[in-house]
């Protein structure tokens, strides 16, 4: 279908230093083949379960995958979908055309049959209305003995795609680990029935590209990757208040809490969640919280506290469609400016915006490093699409990146025994030496065990005492702001790819990376020359370097999942470069390569 060979090349230029944060494509060469399965039905029919299992089977079989989920803010009923696109080569984005539509209910057929590809087919329960499209009517209820219809569907799909039944059964069993034996048995039987039934049919099936042969990979969604990245960074304390689409980070961490000696606590509200994390971080535990827009709104005051008291803390904001309650389960990039300016008063901060599941892992690690280096809040901005999207991810090497020092050490000179420790010592780069209360000598050689540590929210003197001395105020404002440089030294630079001297440069940030890169590739395939530029970090930035890149491009288009073009505004503010052309999507769904290409064509840019 689409040639993605050039989607993630190393960008060779000293302007934008390229560092690989995604390595999917470097291990698996791209091909132009991909295949897309969409499972649709009601909440409660277990479609996310089989979607997840199918994703894992595909990855184990040797495919690259990208899944995407849509669901409503309810527990049963409504209309949900789980789409998995897979390919022997690397895929990075969801796509619109459906090759197999698995319809667990009638509504799914009518809602999605118009998206079927040329070879597309509907797999549907025999009892449902089957639509006008090519379809395979499966007697699912019978095959499942009225129980695990979803596992029957999984079996049928597995058989169509040509996935080995053993492999499928293995994944299913892993997934059901801990469930009652009877449940496992019944599911396995349903799966088998699905496989068996399909094998007995004689009809032409869609052509499915075969898998590639490669190293085992992980099947992770964005939230799981953040959880693992945090664990790899030395996370020791996590507090949260449930909020879609962030909650599954907590669920993953809780799952591993005992093994990893981690404290996870559900707070009474988001205000408490961040204040707890700040308390824990002050006491020495690398700490993180995650939430979404409304919950983050409540954390604003404590963001400012982390900055004033100079406490390292990582804050994940998984965006959903606002304002207010909005569409609680839909995706958006509407909170960039909100998070960038959150918290009253002025202070440095960093905002990381991973573009892929793999980047979720690496940038979470990076976030802890940054927070620890400059003593303040670091933000990770994701969204519902990325949070819930499964990718195949190469195994992570755990040796190359050092974990954050769990135990803080002074970066300055240890104080003389008798001297009082200065928690807010004014230093050249603004970062003060840091001790942990009660652990001074145990953590930091050279300090007396009786040293005292202060964290304070007022304007304070070096010893953390409240001050009304306005000359001290000035010094402290400048001390804090100097720490921006510490963050600037650590910037994760923008990445770019596509044609050199392209006619159109697509600029993006966060989770749209894969779709934008693929759109550029499609344009190139269509005879237009196109390139893309992705920001895995939107703050701080190096305006001069970015400006140069933007100025060199013939046409620049900014792609964002919001209605006002927030990142384009930020780029203009910082670089002076005004991107007038925008592709903006704000209906709660992620951009796809197709929709970007369509929009560009309509605007005469593609």
């Amino acid at each position: 279908m689409i040639n993605l060979t050039n989607a993630f090349p190393r960008y060779e230029s000293d302007e934008i230093v390229w560092r690989a944060v995604s390595s999917k494509e470097s291990e698996t060469p791209m091909t132009d083949e991909s295949f897309n399965i969409l499972i649709g039905g009601e909440a409660g029919q277990g479609l996310a379960t089989i979607g997840h299992i199918l994703s894992k089977i595909l990855v184990r079989a040797g495919y690259s995958i990208v899944s995407s989920q849509t669901y409503e803010s309810r527990i049963r009923g409504g209309h949900n979908t789980f789409a998995v696109r897979f390919s022997p080569g690397a895929v990075h984005a969801p796509t619109e055309a459906i090759d197999i539509l698995v319809a667990l209910n009638e509504e799914t057929v009518s809602l999605h049959e118009e998206s079927l590809s040329l070879q597309g087919v509907v797999v549907v329960n025999q009892s449902e209305r089957e639509g006008n499209s090519p379809h395979i009517a499966v007697p699912m209820k019978d095959l499942a003995d009225g129980r695990h219809i979803n596992s029957v569907a999984l079996g049928v799909v597995g058989a169509i795609v040509g996935l080995e039944e053993d492999l499928a059964r293995g994944v299913l069993k892993d997934y059901l680990d801990g469930a009652a034996e009877e449940v496992v048995k019944s599911n396995v039987k349903s799966l088998r029935e699905g496989y068996r039934w399909l094998s007995e049919q004689s009809r032409t099936l869609p052509r499915v590209p075969g898998p590639s042969d490669r190293e085992r990979r992980l099947t992770l969604n964005g939230n799981e990757a953040i959880a693992l990245g945090a664990l790899a960074a030395g996370l020791k304390f996590y507090s949260f208040y449930p909020m879609s689409p962030s909650t599954s980070i907590a669920v993953a961490l809780i799952h591993h809490a005992q093994a990893m000696n981690l404290v996870v606590e559900q707070a009474e509200d988001e205000i408490a969640a961040l204040n707890m994390a700040i308390g824990a971080a002050f006491a020495g535990a690398p700490s993180m919280v995650a939430t979404s827009g409304g919950g983050f709104a409540l954390m604003n005051e404590a963001v400012s506290l982390a900055a004033a008291a100079e406490i390292p803390v990582v804050i994940v904001v998984a965006q959903r469609a606002g304002p207010a309650t909005g569409l609680p389960t839909r995706t958006a990039q509407g909170d960039l400016e909100f998070v960038l300016h959150s918290g009253h008063g002025e202070f440095p901060r960093a905002l990381l915006t991973p573009g892929t599941v793999e980047e979720c892992f690496h940038l979470t690690r990076k976030a802890f490093e940054m927070a620890q280096a400059y003593h303040g809040p670091v933000f990770l901005l994701t969204d519902q699409f990325l949070a819930d999207s499964y990718h195949d991810v190469p195994r992570f090497g755990l040796d190359d990146v050092p974990t954050v020092r769990t135990c803080a050490e002074s970066e300055g000179e240890p104080g003389e025994s008798g001297e009082a420790f200065l928690s807010y010592k004014v230093t050249e780069n603004g970062v003060s030496p840091r001790l942990l209360p009660g652990l001074t000598s145990r953590c930091s050689a050279g300090y007396s065990s009786e040293q005292l540590v202060v964290g304070d929210s007022h304007e304070h003197s070096e010893d953390g005492q409240i001050t009304e001395d306005l000359s001290v105020r000035k010094v402290m404002v400048e001390k804090r702001l100097r720490k921006t440089e510490v963050l600037k030294e650590r910037i994760v630079p923008p990445q770019r790819g596509g044609d050199d001297n392209a006619e159109v440069l697509l600029v993006c940030w966060g989770s749209t990376k894969g779709a934008v890169a693929e759109a550029a590739s499609v344009l190139s395939g269509n005879g237009r020359s196109a390139a893309w530029m992705h920001f895995p970090q939107v703050w701080p930035m190096n305006p001069a370097k970015i400006r140069k890149q933007l100025e060199a491009a013939k046409n620049v288009v900014c792609v964002e999942e919001n209605a006002t073009g927030q990142f384009a505004r930020l780029l203009r503010r910082e670089t002076g470069f005004h991107i007038e052309d925008r592709v903006l999507r704000y209906d709660g769904l992620p951009v796809t390569p197709e929709c970007i290409v369509r929009e560009l064509a309509e605007n005469g840019k593609g």
Partner: protein
């Protein structure tokens, strides 16, 4: 051995005659009596006149936001169970802005001592009614020219009803008694509330020292601190007679015990086990 000098002495921003001075002194005395060294203690404070108190002694200190001392203390305690954590703040901070955290702290039963300087007023912001301002005694402020409209929040009664394991009331006019309460609260394993009646000479013309002095009495030694109904009844007393002392003290399951890793001491000293992490990674293959 710790001496009172170890806790230092500082210039304060309080008004001459304020009840806060007695509390400050008593806290120091109690810590000395417990033979706690300054570095073993972490004070956590909110914002208000009361919340400045821990700045006026030497110890570890985290002075955060108005109303948010308890969650910070909870986080710190769950990160380092070796720290003795004392939260000090005002009635507005604790029972007003921070009400939800008080409810949660009581439910959690994390090992933190909460000392509330209860002057029945928002002092630092110049005298608005707080939840503990009493309607009936005609508490009239610029912001409440016709008196506080809302009902009176009785923290002792509320804490007992909500299931707190250690609930006491002290008074700045009874410093030796207060010192004992603080010692017992700090020694108690679990969440302990000591509500301290503190006259504010600048903004509270009603509940003045003398008013309290005439009404306060020490709870009789007959009182059974494990008898909830009795504790509640006693706590209901307010006005003509004001009981001081420990209303309730029971054993409750410790919150920290539920986190296995806290048995290994401070989280900061525990290293990340890469082997285990690699095992976890495998689960996702």
């Amino acid at each position: 051995m710790t001496s009172i000098e170890d806790y230092g002495s500082f210039k304060t921003a309080w008004c001459p005659g304020c009840g806060n001075f007695a509390i400050l002194k008593t806290v120091k005395k109690a810590l000395v009596a417990l033979d706690l060294r300054p570095h073993q203690v972490l004070f956590v404070a909110g914002i208000g006149q009361a919340a400045k108190a821990p700045h006026y002694l030497k110890a570890n200190l985290f002075n955060g936001l108005h109303g948010r001392a308890l969650p910070v203390a909870t986080g710190a305690r769950l990160a380092n169970p070796e720290l003795k954590i004392i939260v000090q703040s005002g009635d507005g901070c604790t029972y007003g802005e921070g009400g939800n955290h008080l409810l949660a702290a009581i439910r959690r039963n994390v090992d933190v001592t909460l000392l509330v300087h209860n002057n029945h007023v928002y002092a630092l912001t110049k005298g608005q009614a707080s939840p503990t301002s009493t309607r009936d005694d005609g508490f009239v402020k610029k912001a409440q020219p016709e008196g506080a409209f809302s009902g009176h929040f009785n923290p002792v009664e509320a804490a007992i009803a909500l299931g707190a394991g250690f609930v006491a009331r002290g008074f700045t006019g009874e410093v030796d008694h207060l010192s004992e309460l603080i010692q017992k609260a700090v020694a108690y394993s679990g969440f302990a509330l000591v509500d301290i009646l503190q006259p504010c000479v600048s903004f509270n013309e009603v509940d003045i020292f003398q008013w309290y002095k005439e009404r306060c009495y020490l709870i009789s030694s007959e009182h059974d601190v494990t008898d909830r109904a009795a504790a509640l009844e006693l706590a209901g007393q307010w006005g003509e007679r004001i009981p001081l002392g420990i209303f309730r003290r029971i054993e409750r399951p410790s919150f920290e015990d539920r986190f296995h890793c806290l048995n290994n001491g401070p989280l900061a000293l525990q290293t990340v086990e890469k082997l285990k992490l690699e095992g976890i990674m495998k689960l996702y293959e």
